[in-house]
Amino acid sequence: MVSGMDSGSENISEPSGPGMSAIYFDGTSSRRHAVTLAFKDQLDINADQNRLATWSYTDIRRADSPSGTLRLSCLTAPALARLEIRDAAVAAELTARCSELDANLPGRRGVAAIVGWSLAAAISIVAMVWFGVPLAAERLTPLVPPALERRLGDVAEGQVRILFGNKTCTNAPGRAAFNKLVNEIREAAGMDGAIQTAVLSTPIPNAFALPGGKVYLFDGLLAKAENPDEIAGVLAHELGHLKHRDNTRNLIYNGGTSFLIGLLFGDVTGSGALIFASRSLVTASYSREAEQNADTFSIDVMHRLGRSPKAMGELLFRVTGKQVDNSLSVLSNHPLTEERLKRMSDEDRPPSGPPLLTAAEWASLKAICTSGK
């Protein structure tokens, strides 16, 4: 043992151990108490003949301190009562007596527990993204009221119009031909009249559907089309998305997914989620399955009209052949065009119905965006 370490008040020293000095804060004020320690059955903290506190060794815990200082707290004392010991020998003596000194530290097992629980949480989130969110989107989509869907569509429409230059083509004969084509498809598809359609003047070869029954055809796609059946197939495909409410399902799916991913990495503002969700409306990127279903729908409608579904496949092939890398295109995220063309060619039947548009109507539809300029 070290001797002669006590500065004054030797008379408190007991046979069980020498008095040793330290600084004590009682947790009720910031006053510094210069104290002597007496190691008895319990730790006595004394100042000027008075016993300030008695700490049981098993209740003493280590508190954070810089190196060279041992700082202690006690479970039964006020929460912020602290004992500061700078003397290494006293510190060693106390450390030896306090068996539970480091019981609060997390240690190796604590870290393993954090890693284990984090992995469990991550696996659970991934499982939710993989299985839970698609299921939720599937179940929730029919519950979304059509009114809300229309509102979402209005929002997306506003953004689309700004993104693509807000140039609706209004050439009257073209418009009439377009309406005729849409109506024929709509009736064959068995959908009600609440569908708004428009041709936008933009060179991008694209077409897409917005929630609440809006279908947009871009002039760029029209320019690449060689006959009305090709455009009819694409429009029927988009109506398929509307009928299956793929937009709404997508919105729920993307919103839920990005929220959960954000949960994992700490961004729960939803700012990310919101961007993802609204982007999904505009770019209309659906799952491969949704695309196949929409293709099936289109093939079905074309059969009902007595026209060949092969035309749409040919149009798509013509477009992808030249524009492989267009992220905004209706063609991205789609099944491979060759596969689709093959599928539609397999469904090819000789035309049994009348042509959808007369040659004159087709010509005016092709020219729908010309007179406005």
Partner: protein, 407 residues
């Protein structure tokens, strides 16, 4: 430590001295280990790492020979975060609904709704400060805070508008007003804090920086387009070129200068009763740190590129595909191994940069700022009665969730 038994027990601490005793290697080890654990826990370890970092910084900050102590625990942060999510989810849904209605009226009109999240972020900053402060203990007495997070958020927003209108000129006064509000509601035991720094003082030290910033902005973003339309202004393009060359070089110096001025002004304004802080941080004190960070970032980026190249070469060697194909978009989409290598490399890059930032911009800045500080009339805090309740970590959770940070 045994040699200490022969020296006087309590070496008399230098009066008023504030010092930092943390070991740099220990901190580096702490953040490197923390970054590794963040990687394997998908980021969930951030609560434990933040707590460990604070415990290290606090407990090595000595005022008058007595170290401060951080008593917050990671589980509090975790629960705060989980509660914050539970509260943010409906807010976020409501935000979405309101956004839909507004967008219906006019496309992209919902952007001002970000204001709402700005306010909410300021609220979170205030509440997070309250949490940290009530976990800060010195001499057995904790700091605490009163005041209202909403009142603070309102002030922050109004001053923010003013700063925006005045092109940043009002920024010093904004900071002073917000600091006054925060410090007026800050207590050490029953000792009330206050803030004596004024906006004018801050402005006096920093106006040169503002002038340089505005000049560069005008030259680069106003004059440059003008020279295109008015050939008469062509000679000015030499100035433009000079600025385009100068600004990136000067920016780290100037930002470090700004931070140093801000730290010094802030610390020198802090009062608790009669206790007064004074900082002597020089304007150049933090410059080397920012340049070191830039150097490390460059090095890490080079390593990252080399890693990507090596991975591509390896995969190309295995698959017998030409290298050029791997870097096309379809190559990246098709090649799962390349994608995995890319993700791993990217995460390592982010974590390495985090380690660098934490060592230089957190620990080293802290150490230099602390070393510059002196406390006067500390005897006024010698017998302060403990007071104040612990605040919950919800604010920290919001701040984490909203990705905002404040002091």
């Amino acid at each position: 430590m045994n040699q200490m038994s022969s020296v006087p027990l309590h070496p008399p601490p230098v009066p008023g001295l504030v010092s930092f005793s943390g070991d740099r290697g220990e901190f580096r080890g702490l953040v490197i280990r923390g970054a590794g654990l963040e990687l394997v826990t998908f980021g969930f370890y951030r609560f434990w790492l933040a707590t460990d970092i604070r415990r290290h910084l606090w407990s090595n900050t000595l005022i008058d020979g007595h170290a401060a102590e951080y008593t917050g625990r990671a589980k509090e942060l975790l629960f705060g975060f989980l509660f914050a999510i539970a509260i943010l989810l409906p807010i976020y849904l409501a935000y979405f609904m309101v956004g839909v209605e507004v967008e219906r009226a006019k496309a992209f009109a919902s952007l001002p709704l970000f204001l709402f999240f700005y306010l909410f972020g300021q609220f979170a900053i205030y509440r997070a400060r309250r949490y940290r402060l009530t976990r800060t203990v010195w001499c057995g007495v904790r700091f605490w805070m009163s005041g209202s997070g909403l009142a603070y958020a309102g002030r922050a927003a109004l001053w923010g508008v003013l700063a925006l209108i005045t092109l940043g000129l009002a920024l010093p006064w904004r900071e002073a007003a917000l600091e006054r509000y925060k410090m007026r509601h800050t207590y050490y035991g029953d000792l009330q804090g206050s803030f004596a720094g004024t906006g004018w003082e801050f402005f006096k030290r920093g106006w040169g920086l503002w002038l340089f910033f505005m000049t560069s902005f005008i030259v680069l973003f106003v004059i440059t387009p003008l020279t295109k339309y008015f050939p008469a202004l062509k000679p000015l393009s030499i100035i433009v070129g000079l600025f385009a060359f100068l600004v990136p070089l000067a920016a780290p110096f100037l930002y470090a200068m700004f931070k140093a001025i801000e730290w010094r002004w802030w610390l020198s304004g802090i009062r608790f009763g009669d206790v007064r802080l004074e900082s002597a941080l020089s304007e150049s004190a933090l410059m080397s740190l920012y340049w070191k960070v830039i150097g490390w970032f460059l090095l890490i980026s080079v390593l990252f590129s080399a890693y990507l190249f090596a991975c591509a070469a390896l995969i190309a060697g295995i698959n017998h595909t030409p290298m050029t194909k791997l870097f096309t978009q379809s190559g990246l989409q098709g090649g799962i191994p390349m994608l995995v290598a890319l993700v791993i490399g990217y995460l390592a890059l982010i974590l390495a940069m985090n380690v660098v930032m934490r060592v230089y911009l957190l620990r080293d800045v802290w150490a230099r700022v602390i070393a510059s500080t002196t406390v006067y009339r500390l005897e006024a805090a010698a017998n302060v009665a403990a007071k104040g309740e612990l605040a919950n970590a919800l604010g920290e959770g919001f701040a984490d969730g909203l990705d905002v940070a404040g002091f």
